[in-house]
Each structure stands twice: as structure tokens, then as C-alpha cells.
Symmetry: C2
Subunit: 352 residues, 2 copies
DNA sequence: CTTTGTTGCACAATCGATGGTGCAAGAACT
DNA sequence: AGTTCTTGCACCATCGATTGTGCAACAAAG
């Protein structure tokens, strides 16, 4: 009906139609009108007009003037993985709940790319940045700091901004203990039967390994160095580590701990090249949860990090604007084999 | 060293320092300076200054003036799933490759939320919108159209904008045929042995079902209606469908086709409540690929949609600014059981 | 009837970049 | 020397909102 042809209505359009000034229209539509002592009736009238003309504010103009964009960023290593994608899903729900707009980007665990990505987000004047699993949190801190951008670390800690991370030490212990207890007392695990694959020299890996080694010593009475193979985070390197092991030993370890589902995917690649029988009597623990992985043909014990808990804490820390580099540990959850947990997907309304 | 204390440098700052006018600085830094006949030397000088002061343009101001933001949107149903998260990953690479900024959001397969999300993106003046798996593509079309926003549909077609979708009919046939051929000739599948679970009344499901039924008739000589159970896309409804089936029949079908990995997750929930033996001699086909699902304790044949191919096509269509609602079919790939394909993750550099 | 307050709004500067237009200085040409 | 180009840039309006300030009009107080 209206002349709402192609271009969006602005406060100036509404100003002309309503006979009020642009500033009045602006105040009414952004909620500051009481402070400006604008009559209820005027406000009412303008609000109706806005609705009728489907007015929505131009966020760029708003942002330019107020230097707040309404954008909240989440920087991930990658999307394509259950842990990070559920982080994205949960993050989005939080941000939308606050009336802001989520913007999720990945930076491939590359310090340079991390910084450039952050710069790029900053050029859009994002209001806050959640840094998840960054390789170089302190480098990112500098970039953010210089731009006056509030930020917290998630999953991997930095030394200059608050960090919310999984309790990797405890998680490592829980998972390792669960692996060990999976074996009956009559054919118990020897220290050299239990390996750890994956991870690199980051805080998370180190803590998990610390937990792994400690509990091995406690429960198995030993903890040889050669049982630790840090392969980095690439699936292919992980596969090659398993191939090498297999070639060397003629078999797989009776049990092993994989540092993440991405490393576990490397093991899948190994599996693809070997027959079913290779994987009997084997127990795997994985520091990540993936529902399909939980049902593989051998017992897979998993750790599910408390994504909801971590993000809730992260938003809380962000609000209180603490800039002290405290570290908050969030306890993860042990997931028994053959377990299908519910997740963010279950929030979907399923209409047909 | 410089006074680059807290606030970012603007063209005005550089203008003062360089002695050139803001418009000259602007032209130099945005590349239009040749058109404006600015001396090479001047340009050089200003570029150096910009670098020294770490100048980056304020995208909001740019966007406000030019009504182009450099943001490119991808609207997904959900993040938390291998198909969509790999869509996000690939999308991001494309967009970044074009020097733009990706913005990926999900809308839970809810038509209302889809529209509101699009409106919200529009208020940021995004330049293009890729609509993936939308429940109501035509509703979204209207919203975009009204704002003059270029858009294409992916995964689920609309009737008013170009669409790039998986060849669901062919994929349905391929997958069904592969399931059937998994059974040896001496104990072949009967028509009533092969079911289909999941999906709703959308284009993708309909086409897959059409392929499923046709090939059943061709190869098995029959195709009873009761073998189709459309359960929607929620894991829980899918689980309940399997529970009901199991209670009714006292067993599972010898083989079934699940419409998506999300429905497959519903089956996992069923599995969690039943012992291993329940799942012997069973074959599953799933219209989606997940590496872990491929290694479950029974043969799982999967379809991998050609995410890279679909997006490449989508960007191409977007560029050519076709607005005719053509439908482009992209052939998916059949994935044999126990297969670990490489994906976007493999592009990561893995440094340690 | 003046003085002092309050109410309700309009005006105009501003955020940082873009792009049309104008204009001086020097070159080229007659 | 006078006219016409060309070169190289400066000026200024503009995008759509926000916000500090000013000021009528009317009410209340003295």
C-alpha cells in the first residue's frame, strides 16, 4: 500500500510524516524518549507510524554514531566439529537472547589469521569478542586491547584476559580412570598398555596429559614417557601416528586416550585401512563428545565439555567487565559408551 | 611510539598528518585514487602513513555512505551438525577469499525466526544472503526482495529465487540401491524389509522418497506405503518412531534409510536403550555424511552432499545476478561403509 | 503581574567515509 | 601573450542515526 517500494524508511521519513523532528523520532524508537520528556501520545503515534512503515533502524548509522554495533563475535578454530559447532549454536542463542547479533568466525588455529580476523571484526566495531580455542590468546589480547574491545578466552587460557576453560586436569583424570576401570581385574591394564595420542603443546593438552600421567601412576603404578604421542591437531598426522605405531608394534595399544574428536577422526582414517578384527578388545577414551563416536564397535568413553556452562560463565565474566586474567575452570562430564546425549538441537520446534 | 593510544586512526587523522585532504586520503586508501588523478608519490606517502598508524577503515562509516557493508550472510537451520557446520566452514573460506566478512547465523527451521533473522541481517546492510535449508524460502525471498538484497537458496529450493540443491532424487536412488545391494542374493531383501525414517514434507524429503520408492519397485518389485515414516527433523521424534516400530514388530527392519544425520541421532537414542544384539544383520543408509557414523557396528552407507560444489555454484549464480528461479541440481556422492573422508579440516596448517 | 519552573520538543553538531564538483597551477598550443 | 588542456587536489554535501543544548509555551508561585 504505502510507498515502501525499495528503500527502507528512515527517521527522516517518519519525521516528515509525523511532523515531529528527527531527534524526537529517534528518541522514541530507541527508547530514550522518557529521558527526553516526550509526551506519551507523541511516542505512541510515532511508534505506530514506524510499525506501519516497517521501520527498522540502520545499524550502520547507529553504530557509526554510538560506536556500538550490536554485533558480538565468537572466534573459533574451526566450525566443522561437534564441539565447536555446538559452541556456535549455544553462543548464538545467548547473544540473540540479549537482543544482539552473533557473528561466528573461524581462524584455523593460525595465530596470524586469528589476529587478522579479529582486526576485521574490530573494523565492524563489534561490541564484545569471545575467543575460543585460540592458539595465541595473548596476541589477540593486544589487538583487542588496542581497540578497547572487551574479550574473554574460552577453552584455551590467556595470561592477560579472563579465561573460562574446561577443567582439563580433572577431565584428563576422569577419562583415564574410566578407561582403566573398563578392564576387568583378571586382565588388568599394564602401564605400557595405555597410550595418549593427539594434542599439541597448548595448555589444554598439557593439563590433560598431566591428569593422564598422574592417574596412571596412581592406579597402574607406572607411566612411561613413550606412551604419549602428541601429534598436533590434524587428522592426517594422527592417522600417521597410528600407522607408525601399528607397523612398529604389529598391533594397536589395548587402550588409548585421544585428545580430541579431530584426532579421533585421524584414527577413523586408520580404521578405514584395517579390518574389523584389528579393533577388538580395545578401549578408547576421547576428550570430546560426538554422539556417533559413542556407538563405535568398541567401547568409547568420552568427555563432554560443558559448553552451556562455559558460555554462561563467559557472558557473566564479560558483563562484570573483569579484566583481571582469572581462570575459571568448568568441570566437564564423563560420558559412558553408547550414550546419546541431547544437545542444542533439541531446542528446535519440530513442526511439519 | 605514536599516539595510537586507544582510539583508531581515521582518514581525518591521516589527513592532518599528511597535509592532504580527507577525500584524498580516502581515495588513496580505497583504491579509487587513480580515477581521481592523485600523484603516485602522494598515494605512496599516504599509504605509508596509514601503515605506520595501523589505519583500518571504519566499516560502519563506509557502509553507511556506500550502503555496502562487506558482510555476506549464510542462514542455516542449525550449526550443530556435520553437514551444516561444514557448509559454514566452506562458506567462510569462499567469502574470506573474496575479501568480505562472513556472517553465519541459524534460524532453527522456524519460518518466523528465519524472517526475523533475515531482517536483522538486513539492518546491517549485508550485501548478499545465502539461504540454506530454509523452511520458507519464498517468505524469505519477499523480505530480501523488499530490501533489494541479492539471495540464493541452497539445499531447499524456493520458487522465486535461484536454488542450488542436492540432486535428492538421484541421491535417494543411489542410496537405496546401495542398501539393497548390500544384501547377498541368497537372502535378498523383501519390499517390506526396507523402511525410510525421517524428513518432513519438504522438497528434499519428497524427492528422496520418490527415488527410494522407485528403486524399490524396480529392484524389489514392491513398495508398500507403510515403509515410509516421516518423523520430522527432531531426534526425539525419530527415536520414538523407532521405539514404536520395535514395540509393534518385536524387531527392527532389516534395512532402513534415514533422511538425515539428525534423524540418525534419534536412532542412536534408540540404540542406547537396547543391547548390541538388536543391531546385527542390519543395514542403514543415511542421507548425510558423518565420519563417525560411517564406522558404527553395522554397515552404514552414507550420502555426502557436495558442499563445495553447491557453494561454488551458489557464488557463481550470485555473481551473475540471475534472479530467475532456476534450480541447479548438484550430484551427491555415495560413501561406502567404514570410510573416513577428508574435509575442510584438512586445510588447516598444523603447526606445533 | 512578574518571576521561576516545568513540559515538550526542535536544532544542529557529530560519527568516518565517499564521490560529485570546482578550481588553481602548470603545460601545450596558437 | 592569450587561450585551452591537463594535472592534482580541496571542498562540501551526504549516508542515518545520537545527543547536548536552547527555547517556546504554559503553569505555579510570590
Amino acid at each position: 500500500m504505502k510507498e515502501n517500494g525499495r528503500k527502507k524508511a528512515t527517521i527522516y521519513d517518519l519525521s516528515l510524516i509525523s511532523g515531529s523532528s528527527p531527534s524526537t523520532v529517534s528518541a522514541v524508537l530507541n527508547g530514550t524518549w522518557r529521558k527526553r520528556r516526550i509526551k506519551e501520545a507523541t511516542a505512541e503515534f510515532i511508534r505506530d507510524l514506524a510499525e506501519k512503515h516497517q521501520y527498522t533502524a540502520n545499524r550502520q548509522a547507529q553504530g557509526l554514531r554510538s560506536s556500538r554495533s550490536g554485533l558480538v563475535g565468537l572466534l573459533l578454530p574451526v566450525h566443522d566439529n561437534r564441539y565447536f559447532s555446538s559452541m556456535a549454536q549455544t553462543f548464538e542463542a545467548h547473544v540473540r537472547g540479549m537482543g544482539q547479533c552473533p557473528i561466528v568466525v573461524s581462524a584455523s588455529r593460525d595465530p596470524q589469521e586469528e589476529r587478522e580476523t579479529a582486526e576485521s571484526l574490530i573494523s565492524y566495531s563489534i561490541d564484545e569478542l569471545f575467543i575460543c580455542g585460540a592458539t595465541d590468546p595473548d596476541g589477540l589480547h593486544e589487538v583487542c586491547e588496542k581497540a578497547g574491545l572487551k574479550h574473554v578466552n574460552i577453552d584455551l587460557p590467556g595470561t592477560k584476559a579472563p579465561s573460562i576453560i574446561s577443567d582439563n586436569y580433572e577431565g584428563g583424570r576422569m577419562l583415564t580412570e574410566a578407561i582403566i576401570r573398563q578392564f576387568p581385574a583378571d586382565r588388568p591394564l599394564a602401564p605400557s598398555d595405555l597410550y595418549l595420542f593427539g594434542g599439541r603443546n597448548d595448555h589444554a593438552s598439557r593439563e590433560r596429559i598431566r591428569g593422564f600421567r598422574e592417574i596412571k601412576r596412581e592406579l597402574l603404578g607406572g607411566d612411561p614417557d613413550f606412551c604419549i604421542e602428541t601429534t598436533g591437531y590434524s587428522p592426517n598426522n594422527t592417522r600417521m601416528a597410528f600407522e607408525a605405531f601399528y607397523k612398529r608394534e604389529g598391533r594397536l595399544p589395548r587402550a588409548f586416550f585421544v585428545n580430541s574428536s579431530i584426532n579421533f577422526e585421524g584414527f577413523l582414517r586408520f580404521m578405514a585401512g584395517h579390518p574389523h578384527e584389528t579393533f577388538r578388545d580395545m578401549v578408547v577414551g576421547c576428550y570430546d563428545y560426538d554422539p556417533f563416536a559413542s556407538f563405535l564397535p568398541f567401547p568409547v568413553i568420552m568427555i563432554r565439555q560443558d559448553v552451556e556452562g562455559m558460555l554462561t560463565k563467559a557472558f557473566e565474566v564479560m558483563q562484570h567487565a573483569r579484566t583481571t586474567p582469572d581462570i575459571h575452570l568448568i568441570r566437564p562430564e564423563l560420558v559412558a559408551p553408547r550414550t546419546a546425549l541431547t544437545g542444542p538441537l533439541d531446542a528446535l520446534k519440530d513442526i511439519d
